[in-house]
């Protein structure tokens, strides 16, 4: 069983900001059903269109993905778009008190959705994001470190 921190558990069991913002300024969507994880992120900006005043999400994914999304929406509120863009998936993991190594990729989705949302809002071209982040090798390297934990039990 994963060693989730109390913060991860808390954000998984009581996720903040689930839902949608009908008049969102920016929407970012990454992942797909086929991938097993997907995230849709809504951002509402202040009147100067500079600071994020509200954020909501919908996530299809594991506990880490749900907790990461919840954490992300909390983190971006009150930030300018540029400040928000500076958030890395490590920052999300840190906010949660850490994620198991094998689950770090679940926090990447949050960062990607944010990038997509802001890029679309700014009218930049969005490179397709889904399916291009690295989940790491499923089998051990020479040193015996593994990412995959499927035990076939």
């Amino acid at each position: 069983m994963w060693d989730y921190t109390p913060t991860v558990k808390e954000h998984f069991l009581n996720p903040r900001n689930v839902g949608d913002i009908p008049d969102a300024d920016a929407v970012g969507e990454v992942g797909s059903l086929a991938c097993g994880d997907a995230l849709k992120l809504y951002l509402k900006l202040d009147d100067d269109k500079d600071k994020i005043v509200d954020a909501k999400f919908q996530t299809f994914g594991c506990a880490s993905a749900i907790a990461s999304s919840s954490a992300l929406t909390e983190m971006v509120k009150g930030k300018t778009l540029d400040e928000a863009l500076a958030i890395s998936n490590q920052d999300i993991a840190e906010f949660l008190g850490g994620l198991p190594e094998e689950k770090m990729h679940c926090s990447v989705m949050g960062q990607e959705a944010l990038e997509v949302a802001i890029a679309k809002y700014r009218g930049h071209e969005v490179k397709p994001h889904d399916h291009d982040h690295d989940h790491g090798p499923a089998y051990p390297d020479q040193e015996g470190t593994i990412v995959c934990k499927c035990f076939g039990i």
Binding site: G36, K40, F60, C62, A65, H135, A138, F151, G152, I153
Partner: protein, 389 residues
């Protein structure tokens, strides 16, 4: 929190009677069965008795029973032995839905120049017999097909498969780790050459397994060293665990009817009620013959790990073939082989019952799971779209 344990295909509770049977063999009767003194000799007698009990459950003879450390060892030993016995044969057959203890081993063989055929299954998880028939040839050293699938409970027509294989001169091995104790097996009237079982799946402790080896079947040991197990498996006999397994097999024989009535009835109620209460769900392998204790249900638009952890908050223990429990990208190889759509495969949950499962526990799951699925679908972008419609 008192657990509601519905993960018996992962491992089972040691039966109290099994524990009592093995208990003296730790601190009191701890002798080495192979020793030259009475203190070891009395343990040897109990090991022999256990061997008879295991043999009786399988319809085998005691000298056909080799004690190993687990199901994985038995699987590894069976396949490696066949390759050593027939060094000239360079073909191995297995199925796409085997347990990793067989599948990993077979896949590793391709790197050593072996031809490995993985027989496919249909959408219900049932073996493609025509494909099997076409695949066996004179070059085939061994065919290893599981008796029952650990994830779906689907039972393969193993005797039929064994007959096809034996006609071509290959050895036939079956991983019966999930079948033993749940469905009757009579090796006396069978064409199976080698069979694996694992104690901890039938209320014996972890760390003990059996490789059944039909009398006269050529064999090379996997673990070499001392002359234990008639030189077929080296290492000091794990006497306490062997004795425990003997008792567990005796009890399994006595409880076989319960598995197929009481346990099956609870499983049936669980699946019927969940299907009635939760839309967009399907039973993986639901139309195939299955173990009486297992049901694997796919819930669309949600992800398995999230379901498991919410169940876990209520003390309900189940398992999933979801990739997300493993942190790897791909969902269960079993569900993929069955062509279960990715949308479902990710949200598949296995409930596996035992003779300890109560009606009250099943009621709790029937009550608690529907709102969990609804909650997660509410959170999922796909689920929300579907709910809007």
């Amino acid at each position: 929190m008192k657990e509601i344990y519905l993960d018996n295909n992962a491992t089972t509770k040691v039966d109290e009677a099994v524990f009592e049977e093995m208990r003296p063999y730790f601190c009191e009767l701890y002798g080495n069965p192979s020793s030259m003194h009475f203190f070891g000799g009395q343990v040897q007698q109990k090991v022999d008795e256990a061997r008879k009990r295991v043999a009786a459950l399988l319809g085998a003879s005691p000298d056909e029973i080799i004690f190993t450390a687990c199901g994985t060892e038995s699987d590894n030993a069976a396949i490696r032995s066949a390759l050593e016995v027939f060094p000239e044969k360079r073909h191995v057959i297995t199925s796409r839905v085997e347990h990793p203890a067989v599948l990993t081993q077979c896949r590793n063989l391709t790197q050593k120049g072996y031809r490995v055929t993985e027989i496919g299954v249909d959408s219900e998880g049932q073996l493609d017999m025509a494909e099997l028939k076409a695949a066996v040839d004179a070059d085939t050293a061994i065919v290893s097909l599981m008796y029952a699938n650990n994830e779906t409970g689907v039972i393969f027509p193993i005797e039929e498969a064994a007959a096809i294989v034996k006609a071509k001169g290959a050895l036939f091995h079956t991983d019966a780790v999930q079948a033993v104790g749940k469905v009757p097996i009579n090796l006396a009237a069978s064409k199976i050459d080698l069979l694996s079982l694992s104690g901890h799946k039938l209320h014996a402790p972890k760390g003990i397994g059996v490789l059944y080896l039909r009398r006269g079947t050529p064999f090379r040991p996997f673990m070499v060293g001392g002359h234990q197990e008639k030189s077929r498996r080296a290492g000091t006999e794990n006497a306490a665990a062997i004795i425990a397994l003997g008792k567990a097999c005796e009890l399994a024989g006595q409880n076989m009817a319960i598995e197929n009535s009481q346990v099956k009835a609870l499983r049936d109620r669980l699946q019927t009620e969940l299907m009635a209460r939760i839309p967009h769900a399907r039973i993986n392998g639901g139309a195939a013959e299955r173990l009486p204790n297992t049901v694997n249900i796919a819930f669309e638009f949600v992800e398995g790990e999230a379901i498991l952890l919410l169940l876990n908050e209520l003390g309900i223990c189940a398992s999933s073939g979801s990739a997300c429990t493993s942190g790897s990208l791909e969902p269960s190889h079993v569900l993929r082989a069955m062509g279960v759509p990715f949308t479902c495969a990710h949200g598949s949950i296995r409930f596996s019952l035992s003779r300890y499962t109560t009606a009250g526990e099943i009621d709790t799951v029937i009550r608690e799971l529907p709102p969990i699925i609804a909650h997660l679908r509410q959170m999922s972008p796909f689920g929300r779209e579907f709910l809007k419609k």
